[in-house]
Amino acid sequence: MALTLKLNGATHTVDAEPGTPLLWVIRDELKMTGTKFGCGVASCGACTVHLDGEPVRSCQTFIEDVEGAEITTIEAIGEDKIGAAVQQAWAELDVVQCGYCQSGQVMSAVGLLAENPKPSADEIDAYMEGNACRCATYQRIRKGVQRASEILEA
């Protein structure tokens, strides 16, 4: 069935059955590959996108539930002030290793800073708990969020 999606400020008409995870519409239909498939069960966070500004796991978000919502993916998060600060911090600290989880890490970090501009280390750990990184770049993710917070404060 045809559905209309508002994604990164543009409107897309896609053909997908109800029950299709948003992840696969973004990746396979729209060919926007920054949003990653990691586990399919909302356990790793690699597929994190924003729905009306809130981070959600797109592998467990179904296409029929997102009509009318503003969807933002990693490809556009840099246009957001917080997103740009997180990306700058990630570059300064060379947070990434393999990088496969980092789209999701960045999307969650932006979600955290939007609701808590100056999170403590414990608050970062609690919020970012659902974003797995098998390379274990966690030290730098924690510092990266703190650094982005500083950039935004300046």
Binding site: K31, M32, V86, D94, C98, C101, R134, Y138
Partner: protein
Amino acid sequence: MTINTSRRGFLKGAAATAAVLLVGARPDGAIAAAGAETTQLNPFVKIDANGTVTAIVKHFEKGQGPATGLPTLIAEEIGLRMDQIEYEFAPSNPQVYNNLFFGPFQGTGGSTAMANSWQQYRTAGAAAREMLISAAAKDWGVAASELTIEEGMVKGAGKTAPIGDFVAMAATMDAPEAPRLKDPSEFKLIGNEGVRRKDTVIKSNGQAMFAMDVHLPNQMVAMIARPEARGGVALGFDDSAAKEVKGYIRAAVLPTKAGVVVYAENTWAAIQAREALEVEWDMSGAETRNSDEIRNEIMAALDAAPEYNVNKADMAAVASAVDGAAKVVEKTFYFPLLAHAPMEPLNCTIEQTAEGKIVLHDGAQMPTGPHMAFQQIFQLPPEMIEIRTMLAGGSFGRRATPDADYQVEAGLAFVMTDRSRPVKLVWTREDDIRGGYYRPAFGHKVRVGLDEAGNIAGWEHRVAGQSIMKGTAFESFSVHDGVDHSSIEGIAESPYSIPTQSLGLTDTKKATSVLWWRSVGHTHTAYAMEVMMDLAAKAAGRDPVEFRLAYLDESNPEAARKAGVLKLAAEKAGWGKAGAGRTQGVAVHKSFGSYVAEVVEVSGSPEDGIVIENVTCAVDCGIAVNPDVVRAQMEGGIGYGIGHAMRDQITLSDGAVDQTNFPDYEPLRIGDIKAIDVHIVPSAEAPTGVGEPGTPPSAPALANAIAAISDVQVAELPMAENGVSFA
């Protein structure tokens, strides 16, 4: 896939006739240069007429840093800033792009990317520098000795010009036979803390292209329906329910009968159709063992006479030295099967070009493996097979199997079609956790005898487990006199000078498919060695750091380097000065040519939850080419080791893997380790490994810290299943 429309891609097509300088090696290893792309030469560096320099990186990038490290070597020798060099991954060519430590085989493993490229890539860069300078000297009519290249500019004799001005002339020259490599005192980039990774930006904004991101026009997605236990045989299938799935195309039994391929228009359709497919399996030849049986077999082997006397010690004499000692410390260890679980599930895409070439798009860790396998599958000569290496979302060893398992699956899935549509094979996380190749289960039984003065009088060490290398194409590399070195590495060649030591090994029967896993044998040998050193120190009433140092004879360079990292880690961690309610544990281990010591500080209790407060690490890996990458690899290696030791294991019930996905194979999470602090020992030695060496000492250091706070000495992993809870 998204076509890369970068300037580089454009120039490659549009300006194919413009001057370009290529410097690399001939198949015989000699340095060679060319002025045009030719089959006679595969370059390590390419410089075009507008001065764009590209390093051709022969190792894949899974996060460990060669896409930064190898360009650093070239840029250093030519005289460039890091923003003046780009990278692309080398094509598959085992004659030229081979790992120099692997023979005629291209691949990444054993933490060797930098170690084997160090001279080779610097030499190519130095040759390019000398050629550009010779060309400039000729053009300007001055002596070459008057000229240098700095930040991409040829300078000297009162003149300055960009290197691109001399590419055309340099491209007509012969490569120097033995270009002068820069002295470390001249290094501007190697060892420079300011050098940043080349791939951070694209990995933070969604632009990075992993193999999973390949979308070729008209491609199909293939998934394999697999039996519950390995060895099941597909007899046939009923796809009437699968046909109800929109986007389902068809299914076919693999020629190997190891599974059924489901072809679909997209990934979600493939997932659903595979779920709906009914497969008839013959499970009569499938694995049936439980993990308890594997464990029992290993434990029984530890109590019997070992199959191999690894170090040819007089075993009876060692046993009696231990028996006759004033004190005996004894421990039996068990290490479970472990999955690699890289973040990007396995996948690759195959297409056939109009010319009949087979092209594989893959995060290829060992391109030579699928390259050879595809010659068989497609009955084609090697030049008709092309491998395009993509970024890889982690590996930890999993993308390198001796039988090129997932690439062969994809090849078989493709060869069963009419080849008019590309086929992308995708594994789900469940495929990865359940159908994988595992770190083999191992057991160690160690008895250490101490004399009256608290010195080691005898060390009897037995190891039992399934060999990784036997029966594979890599057997001859690792197996000598029946002993698979990867089963006992880290004990046999330990720099500790332990007197009266025996080392026995017994291979246990094939239990499941096994594979190297970040740091291979060191994953268990370091644990057994370093926990025993702590137990022996405790029994002797001595400090664990001081006790270890007593067995590191610093007149031996290896022992001196091991002692060096141990002392540095102890100093930086404030050894012996843990905060209130905290304890420390230490471990030190040499692997892949590098020396790493780690001090873990914990609080809490095994009953109410252990908190890992911090980890202090000291590493000696020779010259740290990119120090911040070295630090990142230590951080990651520590996390990988500790995460699995805390709570991960793969278990089998009737031959089937019990775990399915991250909820029951729980990764390390951000809150599990509060801080990691890495210190690099300054060194003038050639670079050695960093991808793996951070892992081995991490788990034993944690175990020793927990033993210090609680008297719970964990000898069987994972810790969470053996008496330790984590906060």
